[in-house]
Amino acid sequence: MPHDSGTPDMIFVIAKREFRSMFLSPMAWVILAVIQIILAWSFFTSIDYFFNIQSELATLTNAPGVTDLVAMPLFEVASIILLMVMPLLTMRLISEEKRNKTISLLLSAPISISEIVIGKYLGLLFFISVILMLLVAMPLSLAVGTELDLTRLFSGAFGLFLTLAAFSAAGLYMSSLTDNPMIAAISTFGLLLFLWLLNNSTASDGGTNVLNYLSLHTHFAPLLRGILNTKDIAYFLLFIVGFIVMAIRQLETQRLQS
């Protein structure tokens, strides 16, 4: 089936509407607020912990810095919380269009299905960037009083961005499968949790390596430690492209069968 890659203009028309419509409902504001409150709390407890052990750290050579003890745990917690929140953001992307029949506006307009899907994904990436900016601002504010390892911070934030982008792609695909946002949310959550926990498998046979490789967490952890590995980045990109292509195919097929 021929897919044209699409013109950036049309992709941005869709992305812009998607991004704006999130802020037109209370959903986006509530989610941003809840995430921010919980993460701020986690940030403060990390700082508290850091102050308590500061004297002990001073005696160590090569002691972990504030970036290791405050910023990285924050990103770790953020990845878990967002794993639960992302399904709520992705659930309505396509399923709601199908349920409200607004999808026929897009399908009868001069725009391809790839442009619709990529546009929606891009709109969500804008939103993720907002979440991430608010999140990174917290450890960054410590720069006033101390020296930060900015490269580590960047690597961690980049890892978190890739992880969230992967969550979104999976959620977008799940949303294309159904016209019920609730079902999309629950199945996205199930899939993400499964992929996240895959590396906890304790089986000692040869399968473990494969399962380990498939797990999202396996590829997120090195980025948190400041190791930028092309292998991990390739995994995320493949993951994202794979789910987007599947979502496009899914919509094409529905047009054929419906």
Partner: protein, 314 residues
């Protein structure tokens, strides 16, 4: 001039069920085509295929000379579509929504505002343009749907039941709008309201069980076959007396002194004849073949023959 829509041998199957069976038709500029059919006849499937919402099983569709299957973007650029359920984003205001639609149809930046204000004007949305679509009444939402379909002034406009939920005055306005648009555009109007088709359309097409069973100009349709007349005469004339005159092919009594007659002569000759007989003519009316009659004849007769075939097979 080539036709705006040309459909060739279009079919659509859902598994074993054939919803649209090998239909072909054309639409030219200046045509307002009424597309009729009972529920489940394949009307909506046909409209969805014409607008690229549904892929056909077989057949070709070309819109404004561009093939919908091979060159979907170019073909869809010539299309305005109002589906059965207006595709409205409830969380947007009317203006925001129309601006989004204008961008979706790739209007240039300077055109967007003028196109939106023209559509708002034409559909009478001036008072609600800053309100959220969610808070509008059904009639206004329907009008936003129509505004969206005519916004980019497409050569082909497809409207699926556009007057549902409108009040009688709005209906008249929208019909007037369709007539105005029909002068320069090609319009397909899908509806259940037969008088609307008679009032607005110049062509009519009836689909039944996936097949096109009727396709004619409205004028042709209204004047087909022998005409019937309803007459009222003085009370002392009875049916037998009338039946004796050769000028009437059939005579039926409606009530007391009202008769339904059929004749090969035209109305002028008939009145002349009746007056000469001194029957005390008090009422004379021509009965046109109504669209309703044709619709019922075509869709019911089909069902009857089908039922018969089924019982025969059993």
């Amino acid at each position: 001039m080539s036709s705006l829509i040309s459909v060739n041998n279009l079919s659509r199957h859902y598994g074993d069920f054939c919803a649209v069976n090998n239909i072909s038709f054309e639409l030219s500029a200046g045509d307002i085509l009424g597309f009729l059919g009972p529920n489940g006849a394949g009307k909506s499937s046909t409209m969805q295929m014409l607008t690229g919402n549904l892929a056909p099983t077989y057949g070709e569709i070309s819109i404004d000379g561009k093939d919908l299957l091979e060159n979907p973007k170019a073909a869809k650029a010539s299309l305005g579509y109002l589906p059965e359920n207006p595709p409205l984003y409830q969380e947007m205001t009317v203006t925001e929504y129309l601006q989004f639609c204008a961008r979706l149809h790739q209007l240039d930046k300077p055109q967007i505002n003028s196109a939106c204000s023209t559509a708002i004007e034409r559909c009478g949305l001036n008072d609600v343009e800053q309100r959220l679509i969610r808070n509008l009444s059904k009639g206004f939402q329907q009008r936003v749907g129509i505004a969206q379909a005519i916004l980019h002034s497409p050569p082909v406009i497809i409207l699926d039941e556009p007057t549902v939920g409108l009040d009688p005055i709005q209906i008249l306005e929208i019909r007037q709008l369709m007539k105005t648009l029909g002068e320069s555009h090609g319009i397909i109007l899908c509806t259940h309201i037969l008088p609307e088709v008679q009032a607005v359309c110049n062509r009519v097409q009836i689909i039944n069980q996936g097949k096109l069973v009727y396709n004619a100009n409205i004028d042709e349709m209204l004047n087909r076959g022998t005409e019937k007349f309803e007459i009222a005469l003085s009370p002392d004339i009875n049916r037998e007396q009338l039946a004796g005159h050769d000028i009437f092919t059939t005579v039926e009594t409606i009530e007391n002194n009202h008769f339904l007659i059929e004749s090969k002569s035209d109305a002028a000759q008939l009145t002349q004849y009746i007056v000469e007989q001194k029957w005390g003519l008090t009422h004379f009316a021509t009965q046109q073949t109504s669209l309703e009659q044709i619709f019922i004849d075509l869709t019911l007769s089909e069902e009857k023959t089908d039922n018969k075939l089924e019982t025969d097979a059993a």
